[in-house]
């Protein structure tokens, strides 16, 4: 008998960050509900477990910040603990951090704005924004997909939804970039993060005042209506616009960067997309979401004792479900490690599942489809320019640090 090497519990080693698929894939096979000693954390890696637990929201609370007294991880600077409290408070008011019944009530205020039908109306705006960014890149002759395309695009779209005037866009972009520190493991991340959050509150506050008396069809007006109806307090209204910026920024960036990289690494699939960019973009985007998922894992807290496989999770235990391993579970997908842009059906869980299923999923899909289509049409000979590509040291997001490309 060969001894099986024990599973090491440090989730931030260079190996795990560079290739989460090997590490979480091994857990999925050997110990799909794994107790991680180091972080006091259940690590759940199978597709069917993930679907089951996200759909049993009464057993697994999303109110992680309000219910988890444990310290931040990765660790933060001692002197930043006060800031961390601020962040927890700010974040705890987002509806993603609420359970039913409040969650449903809060989500319904915004849900109607994000339906597949209403988001389809944004496609022309997304197309125009993609064109503008790619025109600029073409002129320069090369680009960093991260800096020049993936980072500005979601902000342009969300700023337009908020009704932010054109001249304020650079300021919003600056705040959005500070908010991005949320998913990044830097030791001193709390300072830019809180600056971004405070900046957003200060910027949005007068907009809300205006929209309460003079509503329009923008997103701030939707929130203002929520306040008028008594669903949201003012603080909840004010933190919600950064919800769009936070929830929709790093995630969409990762879809655009990781997807572009998947195409560059799989020339046969890139050729397939180029044959019919408009026709193939939809399924191709779904496969990008599955193959190198933008979000790696999400947290919950057990609301009561729960049995999962051969383990018992105790009330108050925290757990993380891993999208990155579920989306490559051979029980759910044939040839899971193959990047196949014609895959159908493709029931990936990149957007989660259940009552918290991503509110911005349709918007993210539209942005992905329009970007991959435009790249295939305009830059048929994409290449990566750098040798080694680095990822942010995060267990939440699968984020490249940059993605420089050329097309000559």
């Amino acid at each position: 008998m060969t001894a099986v090497a024990p599973i090491q519990d440090d989730l931030f080693t260079a190996d795990v960050i560079a290739d989460p698929y090997a590490y979480y894939g091994r857990l999925r096979e050997q110990d799909p509900v794994h107790w991680n000693e180091k972080y006091d954390l259940w690590v759940v890696t199978r597709y069917d477990d993930l679907v089951w637990l996200t759909r049993h929201h009464e057993l697994f609370s999303s109110a992680v910040f309000k219910n988890d007294p444990r310290p931040a991880y990765p660790a933060i600077d001692e002197s930043d603990l006060g800031l961390y409290e601020y962040v927890k408070n700010y974040q705890g008011d987002q509806f993603i951090q609420h359970d039913r019944p409040e969650h449903l009530e809060m989500r319904r205020v915004m849900h109607g704005y994000f339906t597949p039908k209403s988001m389809e109306a944004w496609r022309p705006f997304v197309q125009a924004a993609v064109k503008e960014l790619l025109d600029a890149a073409e002129e320069k002759g090369s680009m960093d997909v991260m800096r020049d395309l993936a980072t500005p695009l979601p902000v342009l779209v969300i700023a337009e939804m908020m009704g932010v005037p054109r001249e304020d866009r650079p300021y919003i972009r600056q705040l959005a970039e500070k908010l991005l520190y949320i998913g990044r493991g830097e030791y001193d991340r709390m300072k830019p993060l809180t600056e971004g959050m405070r900046g957003m509150i200060e910027y949005v506050s007068p907009l809300v005042d205006r929209r309460i008396v003079d509503p329009g069809d923008d997103f701030i007006s939707v929130l203002a209506r929520g306040e008028k109806q008594g669903v949201f307090t003012r603080h909840e209204v004010l933190v919600n616009p950064s919800l769009l910026l936070l929830a929709g920024h790093e995630t969409t960036i990762n879809l655009l960067c990781n997807g572009t990289l998947s195409f560059i690494r799989h020339p046969d699939q890139w050729a397939l997309l180029k044959q019919d960019p408009a026709g193939a973009a939809k399924r191709a985007t779904e496969e990008c979401l599955r193959y190198d998922s933008p979000v790696v894992s999400i947290q919950r807290i057990a609301s009561q004792d729960v049995e999962l496989r051969d383990k018992v999770l105790r009330k108050g235990d925290r757990l993380r479900w891993f999208i990155s391993s579920a989306n490559r579970d051979p029980e759910a997908f044939a040839n899971p490690t193959t990047f196949d842009i014609t895959r159908h059906p493709n029931p990936h869980v990149a957007f989660g599942s259940g009552t918290h299923h991503c509110l911005g999923a349709t918007l993210a899909r539209v942005e992905g489809q329009e970007v991959f289509k435009a790249l295939a049409e305009r830059f048929p000979s994409l290449q990566v320019e750098a040798d080694g590509l680095d990822y942010q040291p995060s267990i939440t997001f699968r984020s490249l640090k940059s993605l420089p490309i050329t097309w000559h």
Binding site: R108, S353, H357, T362
Partner: protein, 74 residues
């Protein structure tokens, strides 16, 4: 008289977001898999049913006129 509707949920697409059940609870109910099932397509108004279909985040709900077969959603 309200017209008769045929309403169904694509179980491959449904992610159990439960919005349909929140909007039209007499028509849609989540089953043991936490996926939506149509319990009675006549239990609420056409308007409510279309609102539920429109609010499904993954467009898993289909609605047609039971007699003419005319597609009403999506």
């Amino acid at each position: 008289m309200a017209r008769k509707l045929r309403v169904w949920v694509d179980q491959q697409a449904c992610v159990g977001n439960a919005m349909c059940e929140a909007i039209a609870p007499k028509v849609f109910r989540l089953n043991d898999n936490r996926q939506s099932e149509v319990v009675d397509p006549a239990a609420d108004s056409e308007e409510k049913i279309l609102e539920a279909a429109e609010n499904c985040p993954v467009s898993a709900i289909f609605v047609e006129d039971a007699e003419t077969g005319e597609q009403l959603f999506p």
